[in-house]
């Protein structure tokens, strides 16, 4: 299998002479060049010395991106017609043609790129299954304080999921999505980011919000859709969002957040902020068109965005073997010109290190990074799913017990003397009690008032919605027994303006705007 690296300086051609179609022998070297068919009839392949430098694909000036030119100004250069034959620095001509689509080196061998690699893309991990550091591992050091905080958050997330799942089963909330098995991805990635980095989640990343300070009570309020929910009861449970934590409100549609993140990253770049955009999605989400468009775009616009794919093996009941045939997700990054890495998603330390490094690259080099975190979805897809229908209960149990990322990280911090069994039991019982109390409070709280049904459709409430709200309120007051008792029907609040029949008075950004009807 061969690929092109956009900024590669050293290009080496594969030895093709002995290869047959579909089975190329890869050299051990990390950079290879892609090639096309040869126009002339020479029978031998061109071998370039390893120090040969070819101009960058599609861009006659390899240094233009460093000169401070706008990245898109490279387009102006590429549309000018280049010379017919590019000359190599050692003065040799032929066998390389300067197409607008890129410099191609020719070969008389008809060679198809294989659909599957000889060597699978390696997976970066630092802790072994027993939470012990692998020797010679490269990682970003974590302080005791951060490590303990990471572990506490991971354990909290586990308990939060268990309790809310039970609450749904008891009929107290309508729906829930667990993150069991993916706690390390959630917490470790959040820990490696700064609070200025904007997060575009899918729906299996409440841990990122937890790390950033969303309280257990706030989680409960959203799930119960009560008056204190900062989402005003608009969304299904587990669809959290918080401006102040830079966590964009969850939208159920799959993969739509991926191009959103690229757009936001582009905005961050234009604002010259020391921050990046981060987006999460599953293995299934990478089949959506949005994934491909977003990666392509991020590379072209050189936007500081980190794509984190939680490859957990399942998209509801669809296993990855039915989802794609590539060697996982990280290899797709190369196809779009995006630097990528595959990480053991159940290794919190490896996740932390990879995301930390990715963030530096994204922000300092203005580039997208793709991280494939391999893991396992221990829970069901959601409370509407029973995964034992399509996978064995033994498989689920094994991953839940033997490969639990929380236990694995705990073993590491215990080895370092930062944690013990007393701390463990104290944490677990404290969190459990806090959660149970939060749920009780959330359950008993009032639901959002009637006026929250009609606000926020537009920036300013339009007159027809104000009329409808008035009508609904009148109807509820006339027929109270037809309506639930816990819906507050308070009078319209003055913050949105008062409607008088002939004139709409709207207060918008402290300006009084009067529309005469």
């Amino acid at each position: 299998m061969a690929f092109c690296s956009r900024n590669s300086r050293n290009i080496i051609i594969i030895n093709l002479l002995k290869s047959k179609v579909g089975s190329s022998r890869l050299m051990k070297l990390s950079r290879v060049c892609c090639y096309g068919t040869c126009l002339n009839s020479t029978n031998h392949c061109r071998f370039l010395p390893s120090t040969t430098t070819l101009p960058q694909l599609g861009n006659p000036d390899p240094n233009s991106h460093k000169k401070g030119h706008s990245p898109c100004s490279q387009r102006f250069q590429s549309t000018k017609s280049g010379q017919q034959f590019a000359s190599l620095p050692n003065g040799e001509h032929s066998q390389v043609l300067d197409f607008p689509g890129g410099n191609v080196v020719f070969s008389p061998e008809m060679q198809f790129l294989s659909e599957s690699p000889n060597v699978y893309n390696p997976c970066y991990r630092v802790l072994d299954d027993n939470g012990q550091l692998i020797s010679n591992s490269v990682f970003v050091q974590v302080s005791e304080e951060i490590a303990v905080k990471m572990y506490s958050n991971m354990a909290t997330l586990q308990i939060l999921d268990t309790i809310f799942y039970e609450a749904q089963r008891q009929g107290r909330i309508s729906f829930y999505v667990t993150t069991i098995g993916e706690e390390a991805i959630n917490i470790a990635s959040a820990a490696a980011l700064t609070s200025d980095d904007v997060v575009f989640p899918q729906y299996r990343e409440p841990g990122v919000l937890l790390w950033r300070g969303f309280t257990l009570q706030e989680f409960a309020n959203q799930c119960f859709g009560n008056k204190a929910d900062n989402g005003k009861g608009r969304q299904m449970p587990a669809h959290y969002g918080s401006n102040k934590h830079n966590y964009f409100t969850i939208s159920s549609t799959i993969a739509t957040q991926i191009p959103h993140a690229v757009g936001a990253a582009y905005s961050l770049k234009m604002d010259k902020k020391d921050a990046c955009a981060v987006t999460y999605f599953g293995d299934g989400g990478t089949s959506e068109g949005d994934f491909h468009a977003a990666l392509n775009f991020a590379a072209v616009t050189e936007s500081p965005v980190i794509f984190i794919c939680r490859n957990n093996g399942w998209a509801i009941s669809t296993p990855t073997s039915d989802q794609f045939r590539s060697d996982g997700i990280a290899v797709r990054g190369q196809a779009y010109g995006v630097r990528s890495i595959r990480v053991d998603g159940n290794d919190a330390l490896a996740m932390y290190s990879a995301v930390h490094t990715a963030r530096e690259m994204a922000v300092n080099e203005h580039r997208p990074i793709l991280i494939e975190a391999v893991t396992y979805r221990v829970g069901h897809h959601s409370t509407s799913d029973d995964s034992t229908k399509y996978r064995s209960a033994d498989e689920i149990e094994w991953w839940r017990m033997a490969r639990d990322p929380v236990t694995r990280f705990r073993k590491w911090i215990e080895t370092n003397g930062w944690w013990g069994s007393e701390a463990e039991s104290q944490l677990r019982s404290s969190i459990r009690n806090q959660l149970l109390q939060a749920i009780q409070i959330a359950e008993r709280a009032e639901k959002p008032p009637v006026k929250d049904l009609f606000r926020d459709v537009y920036n300013n409430i339009p007159s027809h919605l104000r009329e409808q709200e008035k009508l609904v309120r009148e109807t509820i007051n006339k027929h109270p027994k037809d309506y639930p008792a816990d819906v507050p029907v308070d009078v319209a609040v003055k913050d949105d303006g008062v409607s008088v029949y002939d004139v709409d008075v709207i207060v918008h950004d402290d300006d009084l705007i009067i529309h005469v009807r």
Binding site: G263, S267, A277, G289, N459
Partner: protein, 362 residues
Amino acid sequence: MLGIVRQKMLERSSKKIRPAVSMLRSYSSAAKQMTVREALNSALHEEMSADSKVFLIGEEVGEYQGAYKITKGLLDKYGPDRVLDTPITEAGFTGIAVGAAYYGLKPVVEFMTFNFSMQAIDHIINSAAKSNYMSAGKISVPIVFRGPNGAAAGVGAQHSQCYAAWYAACPGLKVLTPYNSEDARGLLKAAIRDPDPVVFLENELLYGESFPTSDEVLDSSFCLPIGKAKIERKGKHVTIAAYSKMVGYSLQAAEILEKDGIDAEVINLRSIRPLDRSTINDSVRKTNRLVTVEEAFPQHGVGAEICACVVEESFAYLDAPVERIAGADVPMPYAANLERMALPQVGDIVRAAKRACYRSVP
């Protein structure tokens, strides 16, 4: 066909005085001719220079100067950071633009035609229109989606559909349909300044048409309110409500009807969502008869909505059933004769108005 329309417009404008607004000001009465294309281009120039957060994104908007040259000169003036040529992926660039809007920029997304917006419609509806509501007011999306909509000439089924009714059905969106240059300038500027997502439906055949524009319209602070229709021609016997290109046809029909003693009032809707129910109802309460005109498919269309709102609010005032003129209920055929038969013509509007006035056998 186009030549006839243009000639009629010039004749009409030289005879009639412009509506009340320009009479109150002391601007020069020698109105400048401006094409809709120039109107849109100048509006974009002015809004981009007034607010550095406004940027354009779409296919061919930059170096090609826009597929219909609406964005001409903008790349040269504002640079590639603010005028983005994109790969071919409507879903991709719409998603990216929505993400930029989430963060705080003000994108103006161009669809080469709104037919291609269907590939991005999930982002328009689920990511843009609903976001402010779903996020309880936290995520506002100050984005504009613009491009040609509806039938052009000889472009077949997949390039001729009108999407006004589709987008206007969705709460959270605003849908605008300019007709002349004044509409184009005023409504596009209003759309770009609006904090809500706006779908701005232009018409390819109107791009080249010129209309007289007063100095007030040419001023860079000019802006039209969203949600207000305009009475293009006052009348008392029948109300004809139309949008986009059909406004021009309705005005022509009104001229013909005048010779038969029917004084038609022509409403240029300008805004499909929010629909200016009060202007429509006030007019129907005056004339007691209504004809709606659109070139879109008839079922569940804008005309159906107008009819429903008039029946709801002004039923007692109707002296005749509402007449609804729309395109034929078939995918647009290509052959010129068939295309002509699939779209409303001036004669159709005239006959409908006469039927509403009980002047002809149905």
